[in-house]
Structures are given as C-alpha cells and as structure tokens.
C-alpha cells in the first residue's frame, strides 16, 4: 500500500517540474474538455483536429521571426487557425461546398505551409516540439497562459451557454428570434483555437486535441446532459493527466503521448462498459431482458 502511495505521490512531492506538469494538465482539462463536449454534441469532432493542424504555419512563422518565443508562436498560431476557420466558413457560405470539405482543404494547405516554414530554419526536433510539446518543460509564462485561457473559456461558455446550445440543435429557431447564433459559433471557434494554442507548449497542438476530444467522447457513454458531460470529461481529463504523467515518469516515456493514451484507455473502457450504450453493457441488458 505504502509502495503504491509512494509511486503515485513521490514524483509529485519530489520534483517541482512534475507538480507544474500536473497543474498544467489539470488547467488544460478544465478548458479543453468542455469545449470537446460541445464539439462532440455538435458533430464537429474533426474540426478540433483540423484547427490543431491549422495552428502550425502561424506558430512556425512566429518561430521564424522571434525564435522560441511563446507569445510570438501563440499569437501566430491563433491568427493562422482563425484565418483557416474564417476562410473555410466563407467558402461554405459562398459556394455549395459543405463545411467539412472546405475545412479539410484549408487545414491541409495550412499544414503544408507550416511544415515548409519550419524546414526553412528549423530542425526535425523543432517540428516535433510544435506537434507534441513537452509538458515537463512548462515554465511560468506558459502555466499562466494555460490558466488564463481555461478561466476565460469557462466564463465564456457559461455566458454564451443558452445561444450556444440553441445554435447547436435548432439554429433556424435561434435565427428566427434574432439570437446571436453566428456569434455563438464564432465564439466556439475562438475558444477552441485559444485552448489549442495554450496547450501548445505543454502538449503540442496534436496531443492537445486528444485531451480535448477523448474525455468528451468517453463522457458521452456515461451521462446525458451537457453540463454533466462537461464535468465528467474534466474529471476524466484530470485523472488521465495525472496517470499519464506517472506512466511517463516511471516508464521513462514521453509525457504527452502517455497522457493522451491514458485518455484513450478511458475512452475504450467507456465504449465497452459505459452505462449509456456501452457495447458490453447493452449486451448484458439485452440478455437480462430475454431471461425475464
């Protein structure tokens, strides 16, 4: 027992960088997971992925201009991803093409541009760092940025909750009563990008999507309402964050993928045993109905 406690607690007690990493993943979960829930329920799960790729050219441009500077790379990433979202939205409105196709087109352009920019004056290591981050090297500035974005995200979601929900399931009604549907949609995209960018140094943009979508998709198998889903997904993200850090510490593996893989484990367990529509759960329920 004490051995277990020691292996769980000691790394965090002993090493400040582990404590920092833990606080960073918890703050990231607070902001990212609720956004993920809204995306899952709006059938926009892949938009998170597209935005994560879209961050790259901006971040790379920031890197080229200012070196490894967090503000420059964050700002660049934010602007690039929003530009992709706006361009995709414009093409969707102006042509018969659907949103998924225009999003895919623009994020692929952005990704290629990003890789090209990195190759101009970077190395493989820089590119890997941008895509996958390093949570064990989070400094004060990054931690503050993560905490600030998480706080703003929760406030903004609370403020826009009603129009955001209405826009999600009945956009025509919201438009007919003159509600701020377009603003709610835009706000969601801005928050999405802000969270991806803030997760940039800790997890890298690609791994950040994992912390955003996997807990949300897992929570859907346990609870029905959006608030319950958001709360549960934050909890799943926080526990997975701690477990992933420990896994990475003890097995000497990179931390970002460990955290996301633990999230993935939670997702697969939920798919199988979730109280709502879990595969095994449904089989068991069906069997008990038959024997009655």
């Amino acid at each position: 027992m004490s051995l277990l406690a020691a292996s769980v607690l000691e790394p965090f007690i002993e090493f400040p960088f582990m404590r920092r990493a833990l606080v960073a993943t918890w703050a990231l979960s607070l902001g990212c997971a609720p956004i993920g829930c809204v995306l899952v329920l709006r059938r926009m799960s892949l938009v998170g992925d597209a935005m994560a790729h879209a961050v790259l050219p901006g971040a790379a441009a920031g890197f080229l201009l200012a070196g490894l500077s967090l503000p420059a790379m964050s700002l660049g990433g934010f602007v690039a991803a929003l530009a992709v979202a706006l361009a995709a939205g414009f093409v969707t409105r102006a042509t018969p093409q659907r949103e998924d196709a225009s999003f895919a087109a623009f994020y692929l352009i952005a990704l290629a541009l990003g890789v090209l920019l990195v190759s101009l004056r970077g190395s493989q290591v820089d590119l890997m760092h941008m895509l996958f981050g390093s949570v064990l090297a989070v400094d004060d500035a990054a931690l503050l940025q993560i905490a600030a974005v998480a706080s703003i995200t929760l406030w903004a979601l609370a403020l826009m909750y009603r129009p955001l929900v209405l826009e999600s399931f009945d956009p025509g009604f919201l438009r007919s009563v003159g509600g701020p549907g377009a603003r709610a949609h835009m706000l969601l995209l801005v928050l999405l990008v802000a969270n991806l960018v803030s997760a940039f140094q800790a997890l890298g943009t690609l791994m950040a999507v994992g912390l955003m979508m996997l807990p949300a998709a897992a929570a859907r198998f346990w609870v029905a309402s959006l608030p319950a889903m958001a709360a549960l997904s934050v909890a799943i993200g926080a526990v997975s964050g701690a477990a992933g850090l420990l896994l990475s510490y003890h097995a000497e593996l990179p931390s970002g993928p460990c955290i996301v893989l633990v999230c993935g484990g939670a997702y697969i367990l939920s798919v199988l045993f979730g109280a709502r529509d879990g595969i095994v759960t449904r089989r068991l329920l069906a069997a008990s109905h038959l024997t009655r």
Binding site: R43, A94, M160, S168, D170, G172, F173, S176, G178, P180
Partner: protein
C-alpha cells in the same frame, strides 16, 4: 368579413437562396387572422419565402411590409432540428420566451407555468422532464408547437409542419391551427396535402417560383392553376441570368 389591414404585405419580393433567386417578383397580402396555405411543386420557393418572412433568409429584394410590433413565430422544417442533442422537453419549450429572456434573462415562475400549459395544449402533459431524443417524430413536432404557443406570436409561420407525422398528431395540431385562427392570429403554412388544404385553409398562395394564384382556396386550387404551376416548375431554367439578386 372584408379584412381591414393585412398582416403582411409583399411588394415585388424576390428571394435568393444560396445565391440563386428562388422566388420572383411576388406581390400580395396575407390577410390578418387568416389561415393561408402556401402550396406548389418541389423547388417552387415555398420554404425560401417562409424563411424571408421569418427573418432567417435576409437575401431578398423588394419589400416585406408588416407592423414591426407584430411578433412572428417561425417553425422551420423538422429536418433542421438535431433531435439527438441532449435537451429536455421543458428547456426546448421554455425557449419560446426568448423575446423576453434573450441570452441571459432568467425564467420566471410564470414562464414555467406557461411551459406546463403549452405542453398540456399539445397533448404532452407530464413530458417536461423527458429528453427530446426519446420522443417520436410526432411527439417532437408537438413539442415545437408548444414552443410556438410560448412565443405568443400574432403571425405564425409553419414549414411543412405535418411531414412524416402520424394522422392523430396531425389532427391534433390542425385543431391548434383553428384555435390560433379563433384567437385572431395569422397562420401561414407550407403544405403538400391539397385535400388537407381544401378542408382547413381558407386562403391559398400557389407558388411556382412566382405567383400562380393567390386568394380563396376554391378559386386558387383549380385544375388549370395546378397544371400551370406544374408546367412553370418544369420549364424553369436554373441558369437563367434574369433578376439576379445582389447579395
């Protein structure tokens, strides 16, 4: 009998949908306190017209004249609703109070009582805690009618309200339409079932991208008009450059 002021007047209205003009040069008036059916072949521009009247399509030329104080309730086609989204029946109906509560306002006790009343009126008493996704298509449509009741509007726009709805629900909701007429509300509904229109609606607008006929039901739904509407729909040239609406 002769109506005093129309609820909505159209002056040379041309409505565009996704960059293409869908309704052309439509003029006429919806009588206040009447039940008007909008009928016509597929692609005749019926939904686009309703969208323009309901304020969801803003790409139009010409004029839509109505008293700005009139409250309009617009019920889009059922396919526009994502029923898998986790919201409870009570929450959906309560949003009918949007004109007062908006994004941030709180629901009062009176609003909650009105939700319960509206659910009773559509035959769904006791359903307020249920998830929208648990309901049948007919029950979901009753929920949306309850929301229209909550909106307490003087003009009610319904886009194919009885599509894929069982006969019992259709009959109940038609009764609600007649109640709205008795309350002097104006109802404008896009419909397909001409027998239903003849039985329940006193006014008809027959549309085939432009006005074919508009007036009392018996006069509009004559064979010659229906034939003409069908011909106009078939003869339509999709790429015609005429009367392009500037976006």
């Amino acid at each position: 009998m002769a109506d005093a002021t129309p609820a909505i007047s159209l002056r040379d209205l041309t409505v565009s949908y996704r960059g293409h003009p869908a309704v052309h040069h439509l003029s006429g008036a919806f009588r206040a306190g009447s039940l008007t059916a909008v009928v016509g072949p597929n692609g005749a521009g019926k939904s686009s017209l309703l969208g323009a009247l309901g304020g969801t399509i803003r790409e139009f030329e010409g004029r839509i004249e109505r008293d700005p104080a009139l409250r309009v309730a617009y019920l889009p086609q059922a396919s526009a609703l994502d029923r898998s989204f986790p919201v409870r029946v009570h929450e959906v109906v309560a949003m009918g109070a949007w004109a007062r509560i908006g994004s941030f306002g709180a629901l009062r006790a009176a609003d909650n009582a009105a939700v319960v009343d509206a659910l009773v009126a559509v035959g769904l008493s006791g359903f307020d805690k249920r998830w929208l996704g648990e309901l049948s298509a007919g029950q979901a449509q009753r929920v949306l009618f309850a929301r229209v009741l909550m909106q307490d509007a003087s003009v009610i726009l319904l886009d194919e309200p009885f599509n894929a709805i069982d006969a019992r629900t259709t009959a109940d909701l038609l009764a609600l339409l007649h109640r709205w007429k008795r309350e002097a509300r104006t109802v404008i509904a896009v419909l397909h079932d001409l027998a239903q229109v003849r039985e329940h609606f006193e006014q008809v607008l027959l549309l085939a991208r432009e006005r074919v006929a508009w007036g009392p039901t018996a006069e509009v739904l004559k064979a010659e008009h229906l034939f003409k509407a069908r011909q106009m729909a078939e003869a339509w040239d999709e790429s015609a450059p005429a009367c392009k609406v500037s976006a």
